[in-house]
């Protein structure tokens, strides 16, 4: 059982939590993740570590509400407990002194990027960050990224900020105008990371991406998280989650992620009325007012 000590709604569909998990906090490294189970009937699902505090014994995670599991997690409040958290899982990011780093992130990729940039800076790298969001309303943690990066650029999908709508356009222009980049790290939506790899490929710049396939155990026991990298099958939970993006079979990853769309929709739709009923009970509404 891990207690939630802080909860923030960053933007309407993205939640930030700080939870008590002292042992994990002591061992966490950039690029690692945890697997959670919200309650007794819950599925096991992974979330990246967005921060940790060894002294206070807390972890930070942030997540996008996608379906039933993340919705259930978002329904918990400060003081509530998450049934199970296991970690830290996965290989940590390889933090070396590379020189000039371009870090690219969007949505839930912004979380793990913060500790990663900090670690890269400590190794003497120069880090330029480009963050992508759909529009101004879905932008968060711009200040955090600014405070850890040397330079920060924001790309908004609705074009309301500068001329770029996609981070890919930004990267291409940035590289074409002669900026030297030794390594790129990209975290976030799969399409964004894929796009990013397309942009860096012509310049032959190694691009590390954080893959997010469906997982079950997270310890290399089931093979559910298998991806194809450079023609070889890898288990993301133990061999990754970070891989060389130019070698990833993106099509396979996307198809495997969609394997349960029907079941996910079914679970979500059945859960919602159930949840409304629970909210009604909890909030002691007068009996006449029926929610359902």
């Amino acid at each position: 059982m891990c207690k939630i000590v802080k909860k923030e709604i960053l933007v309407p569909n993205t939640i930030y939590l700080k939870v008590e998990a002292a042992e994990i906090a002591r061992k966490a490294k950039p690029g690692q993740f945890v697997i959670l189970r919200v309650d007794e009937v819950g599925e096991r699902f992974p979330l990246s570590l967005a921060g940790w505090d060894e002294d206070r014994g807390t972890l930070e995670i942030l997540f996008l509400i996608m379906g039933k599991s993340t919705m259930k997690l978002s329904a918990l409040d400060e003081g509530d407990c998450i049934r199970d958290i296991v970690g830290p899982l996965g290989r940590p990011t390889e933090i070396e002194s590379y020189g000039n780093i371009l870090s690219v992130c969007s949505t839930f990729g912004i979380g793990p990027m913060v500790p990663m940039i900090k670690a890269l800076k400590e190794k003497g790298n120069k880090v330029v960050t480009a963050m992508e969001a759909r529009d101004k309303a879905s932008l968060f943690w711009e200040d955090r990224l600014k405070s850890v990066s040397d330079e920060t650029y924001v790309v908004l999908g609705d074009g309301s900020l500068g001329k770029h709508r996609r981070v890919r356009e930004f990267i291409t222009e940035y590289l074409e105008s002669g900026n030297k980049v030794d390594r790129v790290f990209a975290f976030g939506r799969i399409f964004m990371m894929m796009d990013c790899c397309r942009a860096t490929k012509p310049f032959d710049i190694k691009t590390i991406v954080g893959l997010t396939p469906i997982m079950v155990d997270g310890t290399g026991m089931c093979g559910c998280c298998r991806v194809s990298v450079g023609g070889e099958t890898k288990f993301t939970c133990v061999d990754g989650p970070e891989f060389d993006g130019h070698l990833v079979d993106w099509e396979l990853l996307i198809k495997r992620k969609r394997a349960y769309l029907r079941e996910e929709a079914q679970a979500f739709n059945l859960w919602q009325p159930d949840n409304l009923r629970r909210i009604a009970e909890l909030s002691e509404l007068p009996e006449r007012i029926s929610v359902m």
Binding site: S69, G87, V216, C222, G223, V238, K255, A259, Y260, E263
Partner: protein, 473 residues
Amino acid sequence: MAEKPKLNLNRVPIPKQTPEVRRRNFNEVALGYTDEQALEEASRCIDCKKAGCKDGCPVNIDIPEFIKAIRAGDMPEAARILKSKNSLPGICGRVCPQETQCEMTCNLAKKGGPIAIGRLERYVADWERDHPEIAEQQKERIRFNGKKVAVVGSGPAGLTCAADLAKLGYEVIIFEALHVAGGVLMYGIPEFRLPKVIVQSEVDYVKSLGVEIKLNHVIGKIATVDELLENGFDAVFLSPGAGAPVFLNIPGENLSGIYSANEFLTRTNLMKAYLFPEYDTPIQVGKRVAVFGAGNVAMDASRCALRLGAEEVYIIYRRSKVEMPARLEERENAEEEGVIFKLLTNPSRFLGDGRGRVRAVELHEMELGEPDESGRPRPIRKPGSEFIMEIDTAIPALGTRPNPIIPSTTKGLELTKWGTILTDEASGRTSKERVWCGGDMATGAATVISAMGAARRAATDIDKYLRGSTEWS
């Protein structure tokens, strides 16, 4: 000497759910003996002076004595005898391959009617579970000796080693990677062969001895073996099993709808996908399922697939019936339930539906040639025998490899060429001081009871070493 009694060689059969009914539910297949049946079976035992049965049991249960107690109607005594040697009798009575162990060496086996020792063991364990007050009375008083042992993994090996050491006064903490204790007993072996309440009640027994189980702790990640040794543990027993799945390595294997047996069984048993959407974890089976391999794991996967609603389930195996590694009983159970065996057949590739899901598998026929290094006839591909079989789900059940998390994070642990941890069989010692190992991680995939036997030997050696009566080397 009294007159020799007449031998009765008719084993009392165990009642089972009928195949037509059980193939669609997850309830236990074998229903267990009634009191009368147990007494009748126990009465067949002739209480041999040189009881062969005992030699066949890796944890040395005093078999004639516990059977005698059943005959005498003294169930608390029967339970006590079992528990003194085996902390998990309800599990072993159900899943031990008795026909190659205690029942094979029973003196009556030569005459064709060994005592159904496993079924009697199960009967006693089930009786005890229904009478918790007896277990309470029998609880031994344990005095802590001030020494601390860490056990990694809560499968049968880990539970056994922990229970044995706790009874000797050690403070034992088990670290388990998953969110429940039990290892393969929880995530692999299906509910209909081994109900999970039984596993949990035997886990609870181990806890009642004072053993603490820390769930959600992956050793190698949250703490390394070296850190355990540095931070107050006097010894470490490694029992993380051999949990990494092996795939066929043929084209198309990463299509959706292709599950390792581990994933398929974990979703079904551990995550209770058969209760989806009441439980959140989904599983897909569709109408036609192909399971590759013919061991016990393949039988379990195929029988789960039937119960999840598949219309046709195939076992696809490249050799013939006689080479099938599964226990005869499990094979018969699968056959009765309607699993179709396609022998001398091997897959060469999977075909997708264009949207990333498996649609079919290409198979070819095999014939048997000269024996290979395993001593079994080598299967050879028949040229030109390829054909396509439409399927919705494929489950490679080809065995497992040791998981590398612990070896790769522990200094000074020597491995074998199979990736298992090099372990002295008699003592369980590894090449690293104060570290012992047992179970599937030491031997490769084996059996529950052999894992328990190894754990018991290690516990004995750990005790000897920590009491200072032997040196490390």
